[in-house]
């Protein structure tokens, strides 16, 4: 019986795909709707600074503004792959160029 069902049913049901997609998009939109305008610019500038010292790509840095009540929490997450730290010296060279 299970064999026949597996023949006719797609691997994963579409409702669970819908749920997962919604969770992701809404988490993003809820964070975005409360965020001030400067966050994307801040993220870019941080990326430029960090990139002087570490090899990093745009998706490895996340800047969010959260918190509750009277306090706000500016959260900056930077993911660094091991072994991607630049040798000292290259940072200052890039720094001079900026």
């Amino acid at each position: 019986m299970a064999f026949f069902r597996s023949l006719f049913q797609p691997k994963r049901n579409s409702a669970s795909i819908a749920k997962e997609r919604l969770k992701i998009v809404l988490a993003h939109e809820r964070a975005g709707s409360r965020a001030p305008d400067f966050l994307p610019i801040l993220q870019k500038e941080l990326l430029a600074v960090v990139a002087r010292y570490v090899e990093i790509s745009e998706e490895m840095i996340r800047v969010t503004l959260g918190g509750s009540g009277d306090t706000s929490l500016l959260e900056i997450n930077i993911e660094i792959e091991s072994g991607k730290l630049k040798k000292s010296g290259s940072g200052s060279a890039l720094g001079a160029a900026v």
């Binding site: 579409s14 409702a15 919604l22 939109e29 709707s33």
Partner: protein, 270 residues
């Protein structure tokens, strides 16, 4: 104290007007004097769904502009003494609903009615914002479908930031989820978001689940709020939702698939 309830969703076509009509009629059946207002300026339809389209003389905009008084514009429902319909205008001027004017009319309605149901237009433009601005409660009409759930989330955010209660730092609008066009059989097959999924994603309390039902189209065809159809599962689900709104505990019906005979499954749906 009169209560203002907005029926809203963001997305169009999910059942706001059907719900407004059913909920208003349901409250009236429970003995509460209720008026249902159409906020969809230019796309008047509540009159058709309520079956009073030929009795519209004056409308919301006429009253706001002082061309008619409230009692000239209110239409008394022929089926129930507690139920009144306040039709909107067919003008193309979308900004005809001035907030000060609406406020004045709302205050006047609060003197006469226990419940004021505001049938919101779709979208997040002026009309929808005006419909939700004065709300004490909100019924978020949602279909178990991705775009509807996303738009509901957006409108819940707008209620929390742009309603009068939010602006005045008063206790927030109490929001309720009403899941409509629910098909338990498809949910069981994993083809449709389940009620618990939607509840979890939107994280607001559930007021009711209205099953997909042929009786809803039949009700709008004939201009009868679906709660007057006692044989209709959707009508009974709305009656339950009204009872829950009034504080009663009622078990959720119509959320699990009915077992159907082979022949009924083959030859049509109930």
């Amino acid at each position: 104290m009169a209560k203002v309830i907005v029926v809203t969703s963001g997305k169009g076509g999910v059942g706001k007007t059907t719900t407004s009509a059913a909920f208003a009629a349901g409250l009236a059946l429970r003995g509460h004097k209720t008026v249902v207002i159409d906020f969809d300026v230019g796309l008047r339809n509540l009159d058709l769904v309520m079956g009073c389209e030929r009795r519209v003389v004056f409308d919301f905009i006429n009253v706001i502009n002082g061309d008619a008084n409230l009692n000239q514009a209110l239409i008394k429902d022929k089926r129930h003494d507690n139920l009144f319909i306040f039709p909107t205008s067919q003008t193309r001027d979308k900004n005809a609903l001035k907030r000060e004017g609406v406020e004045r009319v709302m205050e006047e309605l609060k003197q006469q009615f226990e419940y004021i149901i505001c049938d919101s237009p779709a979208g997040i433009e002026h009309g929808a914002i005006t419909a939700l601005y004065f709300a004490d409660s909100a019924i978020i009409v949602t279909n178990p479908e991705v775009s509807s759930v996303r738009d509901s989330d957006r409108i819940i955010g707008i209620l929390a930031s742009k309603s009068r209660r939010a602006e005045r730092n008063e206790p927030p609008v109490d929001v309720h989820l009403l899941l409509t066009r629910y098909d338990p059989a498809r949910v069981a097959r994993g083809e449709m978001l389940a009620v618990d999924d939607v509840k979890e994603i939107l994280s607001i309390p559930l007021l009711g689940v209205i099953p997909e039902s042929e009786s809803v189209l039949r009700a709008s065809n004939t201009g009868t709020p679906v709660v007057f159809d006692e044989d209709s599962p959707a009508g009974r689900a709305y009656i339950d939702a009204v009872a829950r709104y009034l504080g009663e505990q009622r078990e959720m019906r119509f959320v699990t698939a009915e077992r159907r005979s082979f022949f009924r499954a083959l030859f049509g749906r109930a």
